[in-house]
Point group: C2
Chain length 311, copies 2
């Protein structure tokens, strides 16, 4: 069993990565406030390095590597943004990175990983873990897991640490959940101040919703959603953290997500990928539950092919 | 001859409008820095109220109206964003607004104006001034001109005032020019600190470029560019201000502008309209002239149909 990261780990992570990641702005929108009846504060992690919050966790993990591990290099398994983030973190640290990606990964994400100088190994969705294991065994690489890693979770949590320093008196934070690194990190930070935390998940891949509802970790549904960053099942460590804090998840359809993505582009002028729009989709769908409250929503990433915006 | 606004007018405008406009963030981009060899600071006025810097000038002008003028209401002539800005400013001040718009105005801009409760009057491009004059004569409306108005220019100038307070030691500021309100405002502010100011204009509608080159105000070319916010000719007052300060303009093709717009969306995750991307287009095209310098670029607006992003 892996040790859960603490609030102090998050503060250390914030110091460690400060030079290498953006302090992303908070964006407000009169349109969204009017549409939901709440006061909405968007944490624009689409404007983060590599276009997603994932830069935070990967940078924290990579910068924590010891000399020998750093020399041998790093491997990770990622549907996209985490791969990009590991590639970015390794490029600033001068460490060799290998990224295992599924065959259906968007081209824009593959190109970005290669752009940071990382090596990409493609495989079928079902063979990802095995491929990583093989690379670790053969080359002595250190695995920087996308979410089942306390250093990665502590890094992702810095997005919420910043959000709470930028906006006073938040009542609730909504963040997307795939593996659960972002949401469990949010939960650790929010627990300090009693802020509620809610996950946003595509209905088609609702294992985190069902896991936290049932108190048992369910496997992934195996379906595909437009939220390509959220296909993975909830991780062991994120599940433990979120279950212990009694957090829950709300689900949205793929149409809800695409509609939210287009509203964010048209009205708020931000390019957000489908996964990154899941929080706003939840806010719009369940607006009555958030009415009159101060709601922070993490826009987790912006790596999307622009063709998605043609209606 | 209208009095030129002073730096003190700009400071007063900043105080007057502070409650009603966003202090927009500065966005940096490793991609843009690498592509240009300069340090680039983007002033994200696409994230401004109404999706454009125009909210600043219109709010300053409308909030400066005296009681009788405020009661009779306001009219303006606008290809889009200024109309939206006047409609917004009037909606916060409880003043009736009428916006004259050309027949080719994008639907998204027309809807937004109506959304703020303003009345829209359509006419042919060539009849805009006459239509406004008629409405002023018939109803006693006050004209809030899009750029030939010292209060409007002082308001637009607050974007540059903020930019200079957010970024130290800028060498040069690039901003789009249509009528010239934004650029002349930038010039007034930049003159205080010796910062260079350069206009960005579509080649197809290069009257400002030629006017400042020749020292004589030329009329509009009559061509249409994708930069629909920049079709209008340089105004009398902006020309005076920019000519006196010896400012100049660099021109870019429509392809340069659309390419910059897509780069900003794909790489920097911001939705910017074609006019709003003109500054980045200039920076990319004339990169060698900005090499090694600290460059502020005003992304002037984000009101664009998303279909534009389908390649």
């Amino acid at each position: 069993m892996i040790a859960r990261p603490t609030f102090q780990d998050v503060e250390q992570a914030a110091n460690r990565i400060a030079r290498y990641v953006h302090r992303t702005p908070i964006i407000t929108s009169a349109y969204l406030d009017a549409a939901t009846g709440s006061s909405v504060f968007l944490k624009a992690e689409n404007l983060q390095k590599v276009g997603a919050f994932k830069a935070r966790g990967a940078t924290n993990a990579v910068l924590s590597l010891s000399g020998g591990d750093a020399t041998r290099g790093v491997v990770t398994d990622s549907s996209g943004n985490h791969g990009q983030a590991v590639a970015y973190a390794c490029s600033i640290a001068g460490i060799a990175a290998t990224v295992v990606m599924p065959d259906h990964a968007p081209g824009v994400k593959v190109d970005a990983v290669k752009g940071y100088g990382a090596k990409v190994v493609f495989c079928a969705q079902s063979e990802r873990a095995a491929t990583v294991e093989e690379l670790v065994g053969q080359n002595g690489y250190t695995l920087v897991h996308a979410f089942d890693d306390p250093l990665v979770i502590a890094g992702q949590a810095t997005a919420t640490l910043e959000l709470l320093s930028q906006v006073d008196d938040l009542d609730v934070i909504i963040a997307p959940i795939g593996g659960g690194g972002l949401l469990s990190g949010a939960s650790i930070v929010a627990s300090q101040s009693g802020v509620e935390v809610i996950g946003a998940e595509p209905s088609l891949v609702d294992d985190a919703y069902r896991s936290l509802r049932d108190g048992v970790r369910h496997g992934p549904t195996g379906e595909i959603s437009v939220g390509d960053g959220l296909l993975t099942g909830i991780g062991e460590l994120p599940f433990e953290i979120l279950h212990a804090a009694q957090r829950s998840v709300l689900t949205v359809s793929d149409d809800d997500i695409l509609s939210a993505m287009r509203i964010i582009a048209q009205r708020i002028k931000l390019v957000v990928e489908p996964s990154g729009a899941a929080g706003v989709a939840v806010l719009l769908k369940y607006a009555s539950e958030f009415k009159g409250r101060r709601v922070g929503v993490i826009l987790s990433g912006g790596n999307v092919d622009l063709a998605r915006f043609a209606t």
